[in-house]
Amino acid sequence: MSVVVKVPAVKVEEKLFQNRYKVDSGRPHISIIDEDKCRNHCEAQACTVCCPAACWTAEANGQVTVISDGCLECGTCRIVCDEHRNVAWEYPRGGYGILFKFG
């Protein structure tokens, strides 16, 4: 049997805290097109697993919610939703969003 490496629970918020953002409050640049599709027609809800900033959450009632404040603007959620095309994805307004210090 292989040895399992013990890893402390990852808190992505602590990682994101190191990043620099200019949040465009009240103007999320990502949204769900049809919430019903996520709830009733998508088993995988891959966005909630694959988003590297944990912007997407699978709620207990089957709904999916997105809060794009910590978004790294990678595009994963949009592309991973290839069966339903249910993500409305734009870049934030000029100058807003993630501001990489090192990139």
Binding site: G75, G97, F102
Partner: protein, 432 residues
């Protein structure tokens, strides 16, 4: 009154900067639009800079470009759960100037590059997102930005807007990316005193080390890990195909965290301070995923055109080269008094076909498929290889010949002899 330029370049990354630099040097009026606060503030790379592409554009780049370390040692590690088998290639020939490979920090590099572009005469506008292309029928006549009074016109628009390239998709020039054509990479930068890095990696001055990793760190997904030494920081990251993340339900930052906790990697990060966490998609679909690259009044360069050589981890050099060829095409047409029509812009594609860009893309065109359909390359082999090493290196009274036999047996148990030969053949074919 709306402004009009000869060319609008969307994006101030390596491809956009290369294009804008060439165009401005040739005396065309160029507007470059960047959505970040400054060039680089939206861009992510490992980052290794290969000097040849940049040298063609800026021969004296070494004078003032913000380079971190020149690479004198390349390590390839194959990791299992708690050990690795590795090869190190270190050569003093890498210590002879002019150096050929550097580590760098993209946010700083892009800013420097852009300053050169502006000095050449291009006008740069930052903090402005291009929301869509202005079309006259099928012809691109300009762009619309997200600012009030945002229409700007141009004879040609170069789309250097990166892997997500929403503009081309909105205009219907190419379809949405597929999860199997992009890798998702996550990365952290850890700062630590310069002396610590030098001691830990056995380097001095500006010398640097690059470690590429495959194996159990990607949990059987198609992908690699990397660790690059900067002057006073270390970049560590891992990237795997998005389709694999999706199918295997693996969370990227957990994958990175587990990789960082690997007993072979953890000591290299000790004492560092994590200062940024980034994520980015890498277009790894290869030759077969390259979209249509030009049309009436428009061209695609860099990541937007899927120009990444996944096997050799090359991207920014392809980006700069495609940007350069796009610009040179326009310059040539302008000097001949020809319009930027689709028929004329065909020359861009021809230039790329002639260059190393398309030749390399073609050479590895089957690689993505081979890896996609044969997970053993990322799953079984790393395990077997390190098991073999462990067996051979453990002194336990068993003779070497018996050990070799055991190793061969274990390989055959996991992959049939036919499978092994088949794998070798597939790789050879893909590389060829």
């Amino acid at each position: 009154m709306s402004e009009k330029f000869d060319v609008i370049v969307v994006g101030a990354g390596p491809s956009g900067n290369a294009a804008a630099l060439r165009l401005a040097e040739a005396g065309l009026s160029v507007l470059q639009i960047e959505r970040g606060e400054s060039p680089g503030s939206k861009n992510v790379q490992g980052a290794i800079l290969y000097s040849d592409a940049l040298e063609k554009l800026i021969p004296d780049f070494r004078d003032d470009a913000p380079l971190e370390r020149h690479v004198i040692e390349q390590r390839m590690w194959v990791l299992d759960d708690n050990s690795f088998v590795g090869s190190h290639y270190r050569s003093d020939s890498f210590n002879k100037e002019p150096y050929n490979r550097y580590t760098m920090i993209r946010a700083q590099f892009d800013k420097w590059f852009s300053e050169r572009v502006q000095k050449a005469g291009a006008l740069l506008i930052c903090e402005t997102t291009v929301s869509h292309l202005l079309l006259d029928g099928q012809r691109v006549i300009g762009v619309m930005t997200d600012r009030q009074g945002g229409e700007i016109y141009a004879d040609a628009v170069i789309l250097a807007d990166g892997v997500n390239s929403l503009l081309a998709k909105k205009a219907g020039f190419h379809p949405e990316l597929k999860p199997k054509n992009v890798a998702l990479a996550v990365k952290e930068i850890h700062f630590m005193p310069q002396e610590m890095i030098e001691q830990r990696f056995g380097v001095k001055g500006d010398e640097g080390v690059v470690i590429e990793m495959v194996g159990k760190i990607t949990k059987g997904m198609m992908g690699t890990g990397f660790l690059y030494t900067n002057r006073e920081s270390i970049a560590i990251g891992v990237g795997c195909m998005l389709s694999d993340f999706k199918n295997q339900k693996i969370t990227p930052y957990e994958l990175l965290e587990q990789m960082k906790a690997h007993p072979s990697i953890q000591p290299m990060l000790e004492g560092g301070e994590m200062k940024e966490y980034t994520a980015h998609l890498i277009p790894e679909g290869g030759f077969n995923a390259i979209p249509n690259l030009y049309g009436d009044g428009w061209m695609i360069v860099g990541d937007a055109g899927m120009f990444v050589n996944a096997v050799h981890r090359e991207g920014s050099n392809l980006a700069m080269t495609t940007g350069m060829h796009a610009a040179d095409t326009l310059i040539e047409l302008r000097s001949e008094g020809k319009e930027f029509t689709s028929a004329n812009l065909k020359r861009y594609k021809a230039r790329l076909d002639e260059s190393f860009v398309m030749k390399d893309m073609k050479k590895y065109k089957n690689m993505p498929d081979v890896f996609h359909t044969n997970p053993q390359f990322f799953n079984d082999y790393p395990d077997l290889i390190s098991q073999a090493a462990r067996t051979m290196l453990t002194v336990d009274g068993v003779d070497k010949k018996t050990k070799e036999k055991e190793i061969r047996k274990s390989f055959r148990q996991r992959r049939s002899l036919f499978g092994l030969m088949g794998d070798a053949f597939k790789l050879w074919r893909a590389f060829e």
